[in-house]
């Protein structure tokens, strides 16, 4: 079990003055712990498992200017039978979504006006009250601290990753790197997507017309022990049947998931669900606007909505999971064309990042 002796607190400030502070709940570190555990697996420092309630410790990374108790991030130490690993620093932006939620509650209380600027900072206070945070963190993530409203005992089981050995260089040699605007997230899990699957995604989008559509991304995780590194090889897109779609939403129904799982079993190739793809038919969204606005319309650029993030977090919480948005963007010279933007967990946050397009043999 674990031993962090710090309690993390988020502070909201207006004009440098503290308006509000709230403890960072234990479950808020769950994505960071998941990412740290997977990072340890990628670097060959931890056995090939995710979840399973490893012993974890959150270590403050003190702000270099303000000093303790203010942090510019934190690191996660993961200890398991067979290894231990300390994650790279996870930046303070990990808490930005939480800070935004706190600010919204201040808007509702009238302590902040709509549109008023605020900043946030995070402190790590020594001498946590009650149980050490790490112990509670492990408990919170496993449900072992269940309450009377939780009638069943639940134990998180570790997921063993099937990591067949492959030479990463042979993949890199026959691939082209695609980078998002604004630069790639460094040290992200390499993802290889065959070119023909991007064409399939484009055809799927075209067939759906003015409504969104979706697919489940399946494939394998591979390991190159010489580096050491783990990478994802996408092998197929399974168009989701039985979805319900509108122009701005696609619902993957219970029947969609059941049918997808049946296809996976029928393929019998040992593939796993790596994530999901959905489309943004922006050329239809923008059809009522003046064409001069299309090239700069934010709806005609890659974006991953709050709803998309919730989808991904709920259904694909593992740190190796990915999401692809295939959408329309407008170019003054080429007209409407389709982009494929890839999102994935990095430092415990969903972010757009680069990928490799595997060229057809």
């Amino acid at each position: 079990m674990e031993k962090t002796e710090y309690r993390f607190v988020t502070e909201i400030l207006k004009d440098g003055v503290r308006l509000h502070q709230a403890p960072v709940p234990l479950h808020a570190f769950e994505s960071a712990v998941e990412w740290a555990q997977f990072h340890g697996v990628r670097r060959g420092k931890l056995p090939s498992f995710l979840g399973g309630s490893p012993s974890t410790c959150i270590e403050p990374h003190w702000d270099r200017e303000a000093g303790a108790p203010y942090v510019e991030g934190f690191r996660v130490r993961v200890e398991e039978d067979g290894g231990d690993a300390l994650s790279p620093p996870i930046p303070i932006t990990y808490f930005s979504e939480r800070a935004q939620l706190l600010a919204e509650s201040l808007f509702e209380e009238g302590k902040l006006a709509k549109g008023e600027r605020f900043t946030y900072r995070v402190c790590a206070l020594a001498g946590a009250e009650g149980a050490p945070q790490g112990v509670a963190l492990t408990a919170a993530m496993t449900g072992s601290d269940r309450t009377s409203s939780e009638p069943f005992a639940c134990e998180d089981l570790p997921q063993e990753l099937q990591l067949a050995e492959r030479d990463l260089d042979t993949f890199l040699e026959r691939a082209e790197r695609v980078e998002p605007e604004g630069g790639p997230a460094s040290d992200a899990l390499p993802v290889f997507m065959p070119r023909h699957l991007l064409l399939e995604a484009e055809a799927l989008k075209e067939k759906a017309g003015d409504v969104e559509t979706g697919a489940v991304i399946i494939g394998h995780l591979r390991r190159d022990s010489r580096r050491p590194e783990v990478f994802a090889e996408v092998t197929a897109l399974l168009p989701a049947p039985y979805t319900e779609a509108t122009s701005t939403r696609v619902t993957f129904t219970a029947d969609s998931w059941q049918a997808t799982e049946a296809v996976l079993q029928l393929r019998g190739a040992g593939e796993v669900m790596l994530g999901f793809l959905h489309t943004h038919p922006a050329r239809f969204w923008c059809s009522k606007c003046e064409s001069s606005r299309w090239a700069t319309c934010p709806m005609a650029q890659p974006f991953f909505s709050t709803e998309d993030r919730a989808f991904h977090k709920d259904v694909f919480p593992r740190a190796f999971s990915i999401a692809v948005v295939s959408g329309d963007t407008f170019d003054a010279e080429q007209g409407w064309k389709v982009f494929h933007a890839l999102y994935g967990w990095h430092e415990g946050i969903m972010t757009e990042r680069g990928y490799h397009v595997l060229l057809d043999p």
Binding site: P151, A153, E155, R249, V250, H278, E307
Partner: protein, 93 residues
């Protein structure tokens, strides 16, 4: 429904199969509806969607390849170590 030590113990997995939990203490006299509701509470799953709409979960019994019907008694349906998939509709925007 009351929790009983020594009740049924099953494996519950999420939609994508990425996470699995051993869930124990499930009373055999519970209905499938009570079972699902207890699972949602015990696993601390969301009960409302992004628009505030209630989320409905279904439990699929892998051994028989079918969804449990809400009024079904667990004693008649599940066995120790059965694997159950907890599934619901999910929206992307």
């Amino acid at each position: 429904m009351s929790s009983q030590e020594g009740g049924v113990s099953v494996l519950v997995r999420d939609i994508s199969g990425q996470k699995r939990q051993r869930v124990s203490g499930i009373p055999k006299d519970a209905t499938a509806e009570e079972f699902v509701s207890g699972l949602v509470a015990s696993l601390r799953l969301k009960t409302t969607g992004s628009q505030g709409e209630p989320l409905t979960y279904q439990a699929r019994l892998d051994r028989e390849g079918r969804h449990l019907q809400p009024s079904e008694r667990l004693a008649d349906a599940i066995r120790d170590d059965d694997e159950i998939a907890l599934i619901r509709n999910v929206d992307a925007g």
